[in-house]
């Protein structure tokens, strides 16, 4: 294809693409994000292909594999355009019916979203509460785009912002626009983007580098993955605009190896953009050159830290450096290097297209724009939620998330990944932004939100994060390496019922040391999960230490399982499933768990038929004596 040589040619190309497409033509879109692929959307897509072939509809109907629309809980998701009818959990065998019905303008009722409150069926995607209350400025295009086709992005006005920046604006004007929009870094730090850009632009030394940070390492967070997989050009366009502003001609996309599809799609996107002259030499016929390279991570959480990531790009291990000088001034090979999160870069074209004033009208005074959150854990609608900054936690969890799953009671929401904290129910009306959650001892971070319920033990939960960080600490500085491990030892003994009265004080001392003495943010914030659970769930710690009891029934060493003799129907299911053969029983013989063999895995409780409900889990109380041998035989009538 010929390279585009001006903004006008880009606009003509766009018009050409749009006019070649009939907006009223029937189009089936199948989500092809990782979560939907994992539940078989590839098969669903293949069946659509085969069915369109079989019904000889290929010339009349479009089929598209799109990015993740975010409603992962109900995948695979199929949306039928132009009506926007949304089908959920579509199985390969549903495809024939969807195609046949859609051709006749009808709807397949049984695959629609059912409102859990009213029982009403909702046909249109944007009427579903999960979507309805969101403001999907960044994520919204995912469902309209096949990430492997740049034309889809261009048709929606893609690269128009880049053209505008290159031809109608000076780098200073772009910088001023980003500053006026008050864009803050979406990776978690919330640092003003324009200030970072200025540091890199004004720092001496060439070349200057711009970098996309897609090392989304926080467990339970996948908003960057969805964006990179579903709409990679929006990130590239932002990166190119940033490069133009900072006088950089070389960029890197750092993507973690756990995201193979994201790495593939960004590679395709770079190639296609180069072919159109939207990246590479003399972009759009201007005098501006910019190339982008991909660097894959090799599995290290700490490589998301800016200086560590830059070491990784240099081909070294991802250990952080002391930051006497910011990486914005001395980064890769000691050259000025501007690193921003995926979402931050994707915000840039929006601001250039619609203006800083528009952007600043969304959100709150110090927190402008929208933010994508990944809502996971014990919540009904797991998925990605994009809302204006400043939206209350309660809205996100209950209006969009549909509340806690399994009719359980809400306990806490953990935000900000391993550096964040747990927020209890009394603070659910807090607004979610860079500043509010920090006041509660947690942080907004990059946008992970894990909902926990009454079945989550907060001591175990804190231990989970500390264990995670102990494995991920790079070991370069002693406070982090030793401090986190020590903290893990203390938490482990508490969950094993060996906690001592002085342990709480010890945890607090370690936390202070970590915060003050660690080299990078990994260690400095490592104690947050412990400190917030201590602050809001102190009683759970006390129960573990003083009563040797785990109130949520999670910590194995403090649990026991036994068979309630009057409920057991001697069905042998638990005995057959017990991994260590700890259950003694036979036909018509009430089962008994041998406590000395039992490993407290809970399998028996899980498999015992609910109509019997004969397995009891207890903590902090003695196990009742087993039923006497002679009383174990069940006398059945007839």
């Amino acid at each position: 294809m010929p390279k585009l040589r001006s903004g006008l040619e880009l606009e003509e190309l766009r018009k050409g693409i749009v006019s070649s497409r009939d907006p009223n033509r029937l189009c089936f879109t199948v989500c092809s994000g990782t979560a939907c692929l994992a539940v078989g959307s590839q098969k669903t897509y293949a069946n659509f292909e085969a069915e369109l072939e079989r019904q000889r509809l290929k010339n009349r109907v479009d089929l598209k594999a799109t990015g993740c629309p975010g409603f992962c809980e109900r995948g695979p998701i199929v949306v039928v355009y132009p009506q926007g009818v949304c089908y959920l959990r579509v199985q390969p065998e549903d495809v024939t019916e969807i195609v046949s019905r859609s051709i006749e303008g009808q709807i397949v009722d049984r695959l629609l979203y059912v409102d859990p409150v009213t029982g009403e069926k909702i046909a249109h995607e944007l009427d579903i509460p999960f979507y309805k209350y969101q403001n999907r400025l960044i994520l919204g295009n995912n469902r309209l785009i096949d990430a492997t086709k740049i034309e889809d992005y261009i048709a929606l006005g893609g690269y128009r912002a880049l053209a505008r920046a290159l031809f109608d604006m000076t780098p200073e004007q772009v910088m001023a626009e980003i500053e006026k929009a008050n864009l803050r870094g979406r990776g978690g730090g919330g640092f003003p983007t324009a200030r970072k850009w200025k540091s890199t632009r004004d720092a001496p030394g060439k070349p200057k580098y711009v970098i996309v940070n897609c090392d989304e390492g926080d467990p339970g967070a996948f908003m960057n993955r969805a964006l990179m997989e579903g709409n990679p050009h929006s990130v590239l366009e932002g990166l190119a605009i940033g490069a133009y502003t900072m006088d950089s001609h070389e960029g890197f996309v750092y993507v973690r190896q756990e995201y193979p599809l994201a790495a593939d799609n960004i590679a395709i996107a770079i190639r296609q953009a180069e072919n159109y002259g939207l990246l590479g030499k003399a972009i759009l016929g201007s005098g501006f050159d910019f190339i982008v390279k991909i660097h894959k991570g090799a599995g290290a959480f700490v490589s998301g830290e800016s200086s560590a990531l830059m070491n990784a790009i240099e081909g070294k291990v991802a250990e952080p450096r002391p930051k006497y000088t910011h990486t914005a001034e001395k980064g890769i090979w000691d050259k000025p290097s501007c690193l921003n999160n995926v979402e931050t870069w994707a915000d840039v074209p929006l601001i250039i297209n619609s203006g800083a004033e528009w952007f600043a009208s969304i959100g709150t005074e110090k927190n402008r724009g929208t933010k994508i959150f990944s809502l996971v854990g014990k919540v009904n609608n797991t998925g990605l939620v994009e809302v204006p900054l400043g939206t209350p936690l309660r809205d996100i969890i209950y209006r969009m998330g549909g509340g806690v799953s399994g009719n359980k009671k809400f306990k806490a929401v953990q935000t900000g990944g391993p550096s964040g904290g747990c927020i209890p129910e009394q603070y659910l009306d807090s607004s979610v932004d860079f500043d509010e959650l920090t006041k509660l001892g947690a942080m907004m971070g990059s946008g992970g939100m894990i909902v926990t319920d009454e079945d989550t033990c907060m001591v175990d939960f804190a231990k989970y994060f500390v264990h995670f960080l102990s494995e991920e600490s790079c070991g370069k500085c002693v406070p982090c390496r030793e401090g986190i491990n020590h903290m893990l030892d203390v938490l482990t003994r508490i969950t094993e019922g060996k906690g001592q009265a002085t342990d709480i004080q010890l945890l607090e001392d370690l936390a202070r040391m970590l915060k003050e003495a660690s080299l990078c943010a990994l260690g400095q914030t490592a104690a947050n999960p412990v400190l917030t659970t201590l602050k809001y769930f102190r009683l759970e710690y006390d129960a573990h230490i003083n009563e040797k009891r785990c109130p949520a029934g999670v910590c194995r060493a403090l649990l026991a399982f036994y068979v309630e003799a009057d409920k057991c129907q001697a069905c042998l299911i638990c005995a057959r499933n017990c991994p260590v053969n700890a259950i003694d029983g036979g036909k018509n013989l009430i089962h008994v768990i041998d406590q000395s063999k039992c490993i407290r895995c809970g399998t028996c409780l899980e498999v015992c038929p609910p109509r019997f409900g004969a397995i009891r889990k207890i903590s902090g109380e003695p196990v009742p004596a087993p039923i006497p041998e002679q009383a174990r035989v069940i006398q059945r009538k007839g």
Partner: protein, 157 residues
């Protein structure tokens, strides 16, 4: 299933090295490619990479032992990865891992004697909606229950 001989390994590594231009900053990218191809990093291969990219062997080993993606021992035909991310954790991932360990009779980081399965854990695959998740080879198995573990693993040959 046996692993390839040294000669074959070195041949494959040379092939990969030929695609990279001997730039030291590509060390990790080369190691990733080799790991993907051979499923482990044999000693003679690392020496070769060190010479070709002009990176001290010490630095190569530093990288190999630092990053989780690399292995200095041969891996099985299928890598079984149990996600231990937060969302999977609160949905019972520790018990899934426990069950996998019992079924395969190996711990994370280990490989079955027949080189069929290697067991790994990962701290989030980003498909939290379908947790708990186990990946076998390239196949994702979501919303896994304890009794599905053995059935799933048995379905691989």
């Amino acid at each position: 299933m046996a692993t390839d001989s040294n000669d074959v390994n070195v041949k494959k590594i040379n092939h990969i090295l030929a695609q990279y231009k001997g730039e030291s900053n590509l060390l990790i990218q080369v190691l990733l490619e080799v790991q993907k191809e051979l499923r482990w990093l044999p000693k003679e291969g690392l020496t070769r990479i060190s010479q070709e990219l002009n990176v001290p062997l010490r630095q190569v080993y530093h990288a190999v032992t630092f990053y989780k993606a690399f292995s200095l021992v041969p891996k099985g035909k299928y890598t079984v990865t149990v996600c231990m991310g937060t969302a999977c954790h609160v949905r019972g991932a520790p018990r899934i891992l426990d069950r996998v360990e019992r079924v395969l009779d190996i711990n994370p980081g280990e490989t079955t004697p027949d080189f069929k399965f290697s067991l790994e854990t990962v701290n989030c695959l980003g498909c939290c909606a379908i947790g708990p998740v186990m990946v076998v080879g390239d196949d994702y198995h979501g919303k896994l229950s304890l009794d599905q573990v053995k059935l799933t693993l048995d379905s691989y040959d």
